[in-house]
């Protein structure tokens, strides 16, 4: 792990028909876990997709490990290789087995020989309790298992930054815990992570920093204790109040 700043976002502006991100600035240091919280539509997913260069930006810049990745002429595939991202749904490739889902990137992008890739994938699956699902097709897995495999797949590429976009939001409640365990283990192992989530207890537990996103702007940023116990911004308070009333905190 390098000692330099992993991710530096400066005054990011992104529009679809309307402006969705209105000047986001954010930094991630190595091994930091930053959680993004906020209402739906606040721009969390869009922000992650911009970092992964899945969306073009209108203004601002993003630096990843010291390199400006929003500059023209950047090797986009190369950047994406080093950033892992897991989405909320439709993650796994349904026409491939679990093992092949994981080894596809290893063999076709990292050019790992097939046998070695198979071994690495099997090891990772075993580490996260999925060894027996190796040859299954994704349709045979529960939602929680699928998301765990998706995380393993991103991990197999040995990224220097992992981004998780509401990965438990589409899961049945009893399946959420197993996924959170995996994320926790990743964080403990020192992975730099940017996590968008609705799971407030989990965020309070795992994050080094929490950012509250509202209407395209980071309204408040701080340690979990600060944000959850003593928010200063009025809208942050309102948001947290609604969450508490819904019994999610």
């Amino acid at each position: 792990m390098s000692a330099e700043t992993v991710l530096k976002i400066e005054d990011l502006h992104k529009s679809f028909d309307v402006e969705v991100l209105k000047g986001i600035s954010l930094t991630l240091e190595p091994a930091e876990v930053v959680c993004l919280i906020g209402a739906s539509g606040s721009g969390k997913s869009t922000l992650l997709r911009c970092v992964n260069l899945l969306e073009p930006i209108q203004d601002g810049r993003i630096e990843f490990l010291g390199e400006e990745i929003t500059a023209p002429g950047v090797d986009v595939d190369g950047v994406r290789r080093r950033i892992g991202i897991v989405f909320q749904a439709f993650n796994l490739f349904p026409h491939m087995s679990v093992l092949r889902n994981i080894t596809l990137g290893l063999t076709k992008v990292l050019k790992t020989p097939q046998a070695q890739a198979d071994e690495e994938a099997a090891d990772l699956l075993a580490r996260f309790g999925l060894a027996d699902k190796r040859n299954e097709y994704p349709d045979r897995l529960s939602g929680g298992q699928q998301q765990r495999v998706a995380i393993v797949r991103a991990l197999a590429m040995r990224p220097e930054l992992m981004m998780l976009d509401e990965v438990t939001s589409a899961l049945d409640p009893e399946l959420v815990a197993e996924v959170l365990d995996v994320i926790r283990e990743l964080a403990d192992s020192g992975m730099t992570m940017l996590i968008a989530t609705h799971e407030m207890s989990f965020a309070r537990d795992i994050a080094n920093r929490v950012c509250f996103l509202d209407d395209g702007v980071i309204l408040e940023e701080g340690s979990p204790e600060q944000i959850f116990s003593a928010p200063t911004n009025e809208r942050t308070k309102q948001f947290l109040q609604r969450i508490i009333e819904a019994g999610r905190l």
Binding site: F90, P138, Q147, A154, M157
Partner: protein
């Protein structure tokens, strides 16, 4: 859904009984109609049926040959066109436009015209190096026409793959080409097997059009029989042969669809 128990057996019995009654009624009505003996003599004549069986199946082999060769080229060429249509960015605009013009043109022009124009016109140009065989140009015409239809089917399949699949693949660092090759196209093709089969059933029958250029395939052979005997039973033989070719393909498609449906539908929301 299989019904169990007494009510299930009863429903089966009723179904069988009503089918038998229906069939018997149809047969009785038809065979007692005043025109039936004449129709039977003209269309269902046992002697001419047996006679045609000596020559038409052999000619049908030509239809099968044309169909198999054309199908391979169509599957590949149509996929190329569909992929060209989906190439992003302004630099590829001329290629995309060409693909659009191609698909519009060859779906618009009647197949029979394409066969005539290419089959008789191309060799007439007398350009050295261009093949002159009538089967060659017949197959080329069929490939050009059907690739236009099939490319649209592929395109629909490609568009139907959820965009998150492409996002997930690109996020691993896979290039656009590799994403298409390993993730998008394999899923797209599996999704469009039924409409693909529909187009191929059409192709099977359109192989008969190659006869316009001279070669004697099954339909032309039956025309020859009909012309010399003034009996239409040979057409029946040809019809049966075409249907026999279609049935196994249709059942194969059903099986493929059922097998893949599970996998495709599974990954909506991760449940």
């Amino acid at each position: 859904m299989r019904a169990h128990g007494a009510s299930g057996t009863r429903s089966t019995l009723i179904a069988v009984a009503s089918t038998v009654v229906f069939a018997v009624v149809v047969v009785l009505v038809v065979s007692n109609s005043p025109g039936w003996p004449e129709v039977q003599r003209q269309f269902f004549n046992g002697e001419f049926f047996r006679e045609s069986l000596r020559v038409i199946p052999k000619a049908f082999l030509l239809n099968v040959r044309i169909f198999l060769i054309a199908e391979v080229f169509i599957l590949v060429f149509a996929l190329l066109i569909a992929i060209v249509r989906s190439l992003p960015g302004p630099v590829f605009f001329p290629l995309r436009a060409l693909a659009i013009v191609y698909a519009d043109f060859f779906r618009g022009v009647p197949t029979i015209l394409v066969i005539y124009l290419l089959g008789f016109g191309a060799p007439a140009l007398q350009i050295s190096g261009i093949p002159r065989g009538e089967l060659f140009w017949g197959v080329v015409a069929l490939v050009l026409v059907y690739s236009a239809y099939v490319s649209e089917v592929y395109r629909a399949g490609i568009d139907s793959v959820h965009p998150s699949q492409e996002a997930a693949a690109r996020s691993l660092g896979l290039s656009q080409a590799k994403t298409m090759r390993y993730v998008i196209v394999p899923q797209a093709v599996r999704r469009v097997v039924p409409p693909l089969l529909n187009d191929f059933i059409g192709l099977q029958k359109d192989t008969a059009l190659v006869a316009l250029l001279g070669p004697v395939e099954a339909f032309r052979q039956s025309q020859i029989e009909v012309a010399s005997n003034f009996n239409y039973t040979p057409y029946l033989v040809t019809a049966i042969l075409f249907v026999l070719l279609t049935i196994p393909l249709a059942r194969l498609t059903d099986w493929l669809v059922i097998r893949d449906r599970r996998r495709q539908l599974a990954l909506g929301a991760a449940r």
